[in-house]
Symmetry: C2
Subunit: 239 residues, 2 copies
DNA sequence: CGGCAGTTTGATGTTACTCAATTTAAGTGG
DNA sequence: CCACTTAAATTGAGTAACATCAAACTGCCG
């Protein structure tokens, strides 16, 4: 498998974490920090739960490498995936200010997670306006993404929802890594797509087959290849 | 029509706005303010657009009385209602830090809207930690509400989604006003429910008929009467 | 009284779910 | 290297949920 090319390669602020030049992690850390005191890294295998709903945690988490997802479990056992986490993502911006959250987080691939103590980050918030700006930005992006997901789930057909999800992930991947030949690494099972867009895995399989047959896109073996991004946008655009 | 009883009746900080003791408006204002300089009120009739998507505004808006809703318009003309706004609600917490938002806002009833200059609020943010706390709180609540809506749209049937919406609105109303005999003022047309939960108005009508026939709840003439809140919770609970 | 927006009801079509069987892919241990 | 196992994906057939279209019916207002 080809080595990932990361798009941004500023000075690595943290030896253990190749991605903290982007997103929140990089903004909070400062050169003079002896970080070991209040920041720690974990490497976690695929499939493991990283955070449990309704449990207080003193840490704010950032995904440094690999993929994860944020979800809620419903009483009937079904699961709604709220969003996917890519390298550089905060689990949730609200976790900076609230120690208890209503969702759980799971590792999709093997991941590297950074945990930073909430009180230290909040101290930084008042001291450093740049940190506030970064937090505000990721907050605004999260809110807009949530609203888009609501619109996709509420107004789009199955094809539309899946097209929207693929486009959304494509854009996020493209913002982080260099993409060659419209091929995007997408380590999702059809079950994850199903739980994200509110369809059954069986139906997801059928829709993806249609996309393949029509020559729009092919998702298999963890790679999404897009042939007609125009067609995909026609199906899954919200604006 | 009976006069609304408001639950919280602290000192009114703003003569024009009966509700700014609750929510954001009250927290930002301070006694010594000569508010007229940077805060203004509008009274707007039902149905009017209060904010247009993608247009910059120097103001942060709070709904002081009446109902409104936040929505996006899709290219095919369909509309997704993202949430309903009740007295005391910020249009959106993110509008405090971003001058351009991706959604529109409309008045559902006649409303009273307060607009406060963003720069003044941001000045308050750095000066007064209590304001930060209030903002953080409404931010966290908004994020949780969005996640709940995603879960409802993704995992629930039509009956479940409508039950969830009714319960959600009941709780929000009960937090603001005293409720007598399980009767909640709900100035929504079935079209609004449809656009919020992603069903057609026709289907909403059928589901509400079912709720009536089963003796669960009756929504008509702008009033929701709940007979079996247990049954409603069984249908529409997410946790 | 007529007009209009909202709601209700019926008939029919489409989308997506369920259940079940089959195929594919990826291990794992002999 | 090959049987055996297991998770994932695919395919088909039948069904349930929801949309669409169209026609009444309601309340309200001028």
């Amino acid at each position: 498998m080809a080595k990932q090319e990361t798009k941004m390669s500023g000075p690595s602020l943290c030896a253990a974490c190749p991605n903290n030049g982007i997103g929140f992690c990089g903004a909070v850390l400062e050169e003079e920090d002896t970080r070991a005191e209040w920041q720690h890294h974990r490497i976690v295998p695929a499939g493991k739960q990283l955070l449990n709903a309704d449990q207080a945690s003193p840490d704010v988490h950032v995904l440094c490498s690999g993929w994860g997802f944020r979800f809620v479990q419903l009483p009937d056992g079904s699961r709604q995936i709220l969003n996917f986490l890519l390298p550089g993502d905060l689990f949730s911006a609200s976790s900076v200010l609230e120690e208890r959250v209503h969702f759980s987080v799971k590792a999709l691939t093997a991941v590297q997670v950074s945990g930073m103590r909430r009180d230290r980050i909040r101290a930084r918030l008042s001291a450093n306006p740049a940190v506030v700006a970064v937090l505000a930005k990721s907050w605004a992006v999260e809110a807009e993404n949530s609203d888009n997901m609501i619109a996709a789930l509420g107004q789009c057909s199955g094809e539309g929802r899946i097209a929207w999800l693929l486009l959304h992930l494509m854009r996020r991947i493209a913002a982080r890594t260099v993409v060659h030949g419209q091929r995007y690494p997408l380590p999702l099972r059809q079950r994850h797509i199903a739980d994200a867009v509110g369809l059954t895995p069986v139906h997801v399989s059928r829709v993806l087959s249609v996309f393949r047959d029509r020559g729009i896109a092919d998702l298999s073996n963890g790679v999404l290849e897009v042939f007609g991004s125009g067609e995909l946008e026609r199906l899954g655009s919200l604006h």
